[in-house]
């Protein structure tokens, strides 16, 4: 089979949906919401580590996206543009809470009462590196990072965005992205280095 032709980065559907939404097509924007709501929620949660705040932020992000649609020119994908709104709202939330001393986060991930998905293990083996302790340490470490560093770390390591996409999503230069990412990684690496030393 000949190598498949690589599709463009952004699914064509998002572009069409955005164009239709700009003209007042209600269902088109609703489709965008349904398509991107889970990722927006996850991104917000990874930043603020609080489910209620994450829900609040992600819904607010879509509301702002809707009212700002006329300003969306399409240089970045809708997804990246939405990420930017989510990240900014999350950073604002973190800064407000830290100033007020009310920052709180939870380490729970699954919805209470829901079992984890269990497709056949023959084709989906467990990933080796699951360690509750390490994850808890990292969660605390991330919560203590400056919000701007937290944003780039989450976008790179959890969302898997490229540096260029992160640069567009947070609205800063490539060099700033890399610098913040370095400091964020180093901070977490130092936290884990101590943990690893304890194990030896």
């Amino acid at each position: 089979m000949a190598g498949p032709e690589r599709p463009s980065r952004e699914p064509e559907d998002d572009r069409n949906l955005v164009d239709r939404a700009k003209q007042g097509d209600r269902e088109a924007f609703a489709t965008l919401v349904r398509r991107h709501q889970d990722r927006a929620f996850n991104l917000a949660y990874q930043m603020v580590r609080n489910r209620e705040d994450a829900l609040d932020i992600s819904q607010e992000a879509f509301a702002r996206a809707y009212t700002s649609l006329p300003t969306f020119k399409g240089e970045a994908s809708f997804s990246t543009w939405l990420h930017r709104i989510v990240v900014n709202l999350a950073i604002d939330s973190l800064r407000r809470k830290r100033v007020a001393g009310t920052a709180s986060y939870d380490d729970t991930r699954a919805v209470p009462g829901e079992p984890e998905a269990e497709p056949s293990t023959r084709d989906d083996p467990a990933i080796a590196l699951e360690s509750k302790q390490v994850r808890a340490l990292l969660a605390r470490g991330i919560a203590q990072l400056p919000p701007a560093q937290q944003a780039v770390l989450v976008l790179r390591e959890i969302e898997g965005m490229t540096y260029e996409e992160i640069s567009q999503a947070v609205g800063c230069s490539l060099g700033t992205v890399m610098s913040r990412l370095f400091y964020a990684r180093r901070r977490l690496q130092q936290v884990l280095k101590m943990h690893l030393a304890d194990l030896r």
Partner: protein, 157 residues
């Protein structure tokens, strides 16, 4: 300025028109909209390798990560087609396989599809009939590919 008492023809026509339009649009929209099924397929390679999630998967990525525990999801191909009713549409899959989709009914925003994954010898590895609402996605997965598997996301509408 409108008269208070509406002429009778307006009331009669108005009610009849509204009822007729509702009756047309509800179950019959497919007749006007299209006589073909718009198919969108994403062929995904999933494995427990480094590589993360392909950003081109968009909103599907989060669903895949909720459903499976692979560490890598890569979009290999995204063929599209618009077969007519009872007309088969095929797309190539890795490993000399083929995906064949045949719409067998299109009605009121719903699609009945026969989906087959065919091996290189033409044998059906899986032969399934599904009904999808317009825009809904079904996954067919499991055929081996390199160090992982193929997952085929099929959306109609």
């Amino acid at each position: 300025m409108r008269h208070r008492r509406r002429p009778r023809h307006r009331a009669f026509s108005g009610v009849t028109l509204v009822c007729s339009l509702v009756a047309i649009l509800a179950p019959h929209a497919s007749l006007f909209a299209q006589a073909t099924a718009s198919l969108r397929v994403q062929v995904i390679y999933a494995a427990n390798d480094p590589g993360g999630v392909d950003a081109r998967l968009g909103g599907l990525a989060a669903e895949l990560q909720r459903t499976f525990r692979y560490s890598k999801y890569e979009l290999l191909d995204s063929p599209q087609g618009s077969p007519a009713l009872n007309q088969s549409w095929q797309a190539n899959l890795p490993g000399d396989r083929r995906l064949e989709i045949t719409p067998t009914a299109m009605q009121g925003g719903q699609y009945s599809l026969t989906v087959r994954v065919l091996s290189s010898s033409g044998q059906a590895v899986v032969n399934t009939r599904v009904r999808l609402r317009s825009g809904a996605t079904v996954l067919v997965g499991g055929p081996s590919h390199q160090k992982g598997v193929l997952i085929i996301a099929i959306t109609a509408g």
